[in-house]
Amino acid sequence: MAGFFKIAIRNFLNSPTTDPYPFGETFTPENYRGIIDYTPELCIGCNTCEYVCPSGAIRVREKEDGSGISFSFWLNTCSHCGNCGYYCPTDAVFNSNDFHTARHQSEKFIPTIDDGISYVQCSNCKQKMKRPVEALLARAYEEITEEVRHQTSLCPECRRMKRFERM
């Protein structure tokens, strides 16, 4: 019991260690997995994030008018596991530090992120295709030559045809 008395007196003497959160800022560790963030420019629409998400919070679908791919994220079922951030090849999806997840009931069914990427026209056969992403190119080639740049503007079939002709 004597131990408790010492602790109680020590607590009493130095000021309380309560974190003033609602009335002041609080400390958040930097790799805290809060609500996920999505940068469309980096996204290549590869669906890995939807595939790895255990609770199905992310949904990547073809836009109705076929003009691109829609990425929608529903916070209320995301378990902040960080799989999406980990498996995304181009880090388009990553976990931010934002922990403010309290929402009113009326906002329950509004998707937290409702974004998407649009298709790009192939310069050769004018067909819609996903546009290449710089990050991916950087990873594939040491240095990006004019040649590589030109190929990125072709759709996969045209690129295959061009490669075939070159052989």
């Binding site: 019991m1 408790f4 008395f5 602790i7 109680a8 007196i9 607590n11 009493f12 309380p16 260690t17 309560t18």
Partner: protein
Amino acid sequence: MITLSASSVFAYLLFPGGLFAVLFGLLLLSMGRIAVARFQGRVGPPIYQNIFDIIKLRVKEVLIPEDVTNKLMFCIAPVFGFVGMMTAIFILPVSGVYGGTGASSDLIVLIYLLALPAVSHILGGSASGSTYAAISVSREVILMFAYEISFIIVLFTVALAAGGGDGAQFSLKGIVDYQITHGSFISDIKMIPAFLAFVIFMLATLEVPPFHIAENDGDVMKGYLMEYSGMPLALFEITHALKLLVLITVLQVFFMPGIAGASIIVNLLWFIGKSAAVVACIAFIHASMPSFRVDQAFKFLMIVPILLSLMSLGMILFF
């Protein structure tokens, strides 16, 4: 016949009686909560917290358990405790501020009035028909059975000591005047064990953690208050606050009724200061002590406070 003079009605309803006592009791309770929080290193609620608890309960809906055996008893139970405590405050003299009613401000009346809150808990708990309440009623009565002995012995010790050797002095006013002239009992070595026994009794009656058994959140959750909500619960909270104030006043009447100055204001501040000190000590024990189980508390209460009070009774009688 009864002398319902204006001063006694004023004393009952406003100054040391109703409004002042309820507000001061609630402030003392929330001060206790703040002190406990500070001992645990957290900030604790604002000072007016318990007052707003009462106001919030006024707004709530009142729920009556449907298989309550006696709806009338269920609603009347809180009133017993409240009434007992209001009368107790009315008859208790505050040294230098309020002289007590003189006519029936008597030790034996005090014993039975102090038992009324426990009776109201018991009636409320068993009338509500809930099993948890019944178990906590049985615990409450076992505790009452145990701590009442030491309270009685302490009471008789004080009565005898205040009697100054020729029989016992039962009127509270007499005890206060005796101590003012002969020096308060807290300074008298013979009365220290009785003081300790009385403090243990206070902790046990107020259900402060070493004896937080009848309403223990661990197993019986809210105990006898389980089925109460809304205004009856507010009455119970007010009774608890009044009981804290009554016990502190009784402690001061018995052991330290010293007067600080001549004017009422100075004495009142001195009274408030002493009460705050007592609440701080109670909070200190609250913050640093776990609760007993029922049988441990029963064994403890049957041995330690009784021996302490018998010791000081013996010392008073034979020296």
